[in-house]
């Protein structure tokens, strides 16, 4: 009797969408001379003093596991950093966890808190991982679409509209990937009201906190009454130009953090040791380099966003991160068509907005973490492309 072969895959994984960035990656990688605005990472190489600290730790033979939660010395530095920069106090012994990138911290936050069928609100356009990580944790992602005409601000009433009995948590990301939108004090406070009213957990992805250009940054955990219900997620990738190091951290009230630590100790043991030594140096002596990079991104943002508007791609001024998210609606093309045509005809790689959720359709994500020469050339090519359409 013929039996259909069983699948070895979990149904959840089988149903998971592959990342929309992948298709463009394959296409762009096969071409020569591409200007890439498709990357979500700094174009700076990690500062030498940080690399040096990592090398030194290897020379000194620090090659064994650290504590599950990370080197205490590093957690102390993280606590001091959060207090200094964002005015929030965390206990390094029980409320801070060093993770393998902010990515792992997001995963842990969801797995530690979501019950099967719990709904987690994801603000779109959003970082590509949230929805899938919610699904993998057994939760149900509930998108809330923000609006380009409103600078992709998350409005409290939008959240309230999708809240049900099963709503457990809300993931917010400010500055946002892909829109660059930063939520300001009043907006955060309005969201905080809703969170309190409906007893929501907030997963606050603050990986771009170091990269805000117009106002000083307010951490969601620092908003009145939010610390007790917020899992703060951050890391070294963006602000310190350390994407390849795979190092992040999370801070949360002890009960939640200890639950995350439980998963972490079984799944990961600890973050890589030498990388943690690099991170200690980053927090102790990295401030000036971060400031230098931030300044440099700010200038490029100013140049790039104004130029986009001038060539006819209307774009709001993003307050943070290093993405411009211009509308391409005037061209009549879908974001996928636009990105593909632009890549094939002018060899400029951008990410189509629909990759970040339905409300990203009609937009493209351009990273301006590239040299000024590259940005100027990209604008030239994009103008040529638009003039031809």
């Amino acid at each position: 009797m013929q039996r259909t072969k069983k699948s070895y895959l979990s149904e959840t994984v089988a149903r998971l969408k592959p990342s929309g960035i992948r298709r463009f990656f394959d296409l762009a990688s096969s071409m020569e001379g591409v200007i890439s605005l498709g990357v979500g990472e700094p174009d700076f190489v990690t500062s030498w003093n940080i690399r040096e600290a990592c090398i030194l730790s290897l020379e000194q033979g620090y090659t064994s596991y650290t504590a599950n939660a990370g080197l205490l010395e590093l957690r102390q530095e993280i606590a001091a950093y959060l207090a200094r920069k964002f005015h929030i106090e965390y206990d390094p012994e029980t409320e801070i966890l060093v993770t393998v990138g902010a990515s792992q911290a997001i995963d842990l936050a969801l797995r530690a808190t979501v019950n099967p069928g719990d709904e987690v609100i994801v603000v779109e356009p959003s970082f590509v991982a949230y929805e899938s990580l919610v699904t993998l944790a057994g939760g149900v992602p509930v998108p809330v679409e923000t609006n380009g005409d409103d600078h992709f601000k998350l409005r409290a009433d939008q959240i309230e509209r999708v809240i049900t009995d099963r709503t457990k948590a809300l993931i917010i990301c400010s500055p946002n990937n892909p829109t660059g939108t930063v939520l300001h004090k009043e907006e955060l406070e309005a969201i905080a009201q809703i969170a309190k009213k409906h007893d929501l957990l907030i997963i606050s992805d603050e990986i771009y906190a170091e990269l805000t250009y117009d106002d000083s940054y307010i951490s969601f955990a620092a908003v009145d009454g939010m610390r007790e219900r917020t899992i703060l997620i951050s890391g070294f990738s963006k602000g310190f130009a350390m994407t390849g190091w795979r190092l992040g951290f999370t801070a949360a009230p002890a009960e939640i953090l200890q639950a995350m630590l439980k998963i972490h100790q079984y799944a990961m043991m600890c973050a890589p040791t030498m990388v943690q030594y690099g991170a200690i140096e980053a927090l102790r002596n990295g401030e000036q380099d971060v400031e230098y990079m931030r300044k440099s991104y700010r200038r490029r943002r100013n140049y790039f966003v104004q130029s986009l508007n001038e060539i006819g791609l209307s774009c709001h001024m993003p307050g943070g991160a290093f993405y411009a998210f211009p509308s391409i609606q005037s061209t009549g093309l879908t974001s996928e068509q636009f990105a593909e045509k632009l890549l094939l005809e002018e060899k400029v790689a951008v990410v189509p907005g629909n990759v970040f959720g339905a409300s990203g359709e009609g937009y493209i994500r351009c990273s301006y973490a590239s040299s000024m020469e590259q940005l100027q050339e990209a604008i030239k090519r994009m103008k040529r492309f638009l003039d031809r359409l």
Partner: protein, 166 residues
């Protein structure tokens, strides 16, 4: 003098790339081209921006390799003018690229560029060491320039990132 944030920003950008198109520069600091031009003009007039220079790697140009030497000079300071008078006598020589007053084992650090070693040697023995206040000189020839004024020569600064990433 006290400069505005925008003025300082313009200086920082120009210091790295003096040839940046003014339209680009203006956008980077969110000013109009006219405003940017006015600021540049003011900075030039005030001698905050002293010169727009090119950093050249002469080793790459046949017949122009040249020789650079750093010379430690001990001098006797003069009553009333200290080191300034002798420093001025030295920096007026066209061969001299820079002169610094130093703390430590010697007084003036003098950088000389010449076409050949013997040209530099001749300058030191005939012009520099014969000055009245000069007590002694120690000449160090530069064998290779790795980094100059913050710029690394021959740095492979290609983008190491993959083309698309989250």
């Amino acid at each position: 003098m006290k400069l505005t944030e925008k003025e300082i920003e313009i200086i920082e950008i120009l210091e790295k790339d003096a040839r940046i198109p003014i339209e680009t520069l203006a956008k980077m600091v969110s000013l109009s081209v006219k405003e940017t031009e006015a600021i540049m003009k003011k900075l030039e007039e005030m001698k905050v921006i002293v010169q727009y220079a090119a950093l050249v790697d002469w080793r790459k140009v046949d017949g122009h390799e040249g020789v650079t030497a750093m010379i430690d000079v001990k001098v006797t300071p003069k009553r009333g003018v200290g080191f300034d008078e002798v420093a001025e006598r030295i920096y007026r020589f066209p061969e001299v690229k820079s002169v610094y007053l130093m703390s430590g084992a010697y007084d003036l650090s003098v950088v000389i560029e010449g076409r050949s070693m013997s040209e530099v040697a001749q300058f030191v023995s005939e012009k520099l060491s014969t000055l009245d206040s000069v007590i002694s000189t120690t000449t160090h020839f530069i064998l290779k320039k790795y980094k100059h004024d913050g710029t690394v020569f021959d740095q492979g600064d290609q983008d190491r990132r993959i083309v698309m990433a989250p």
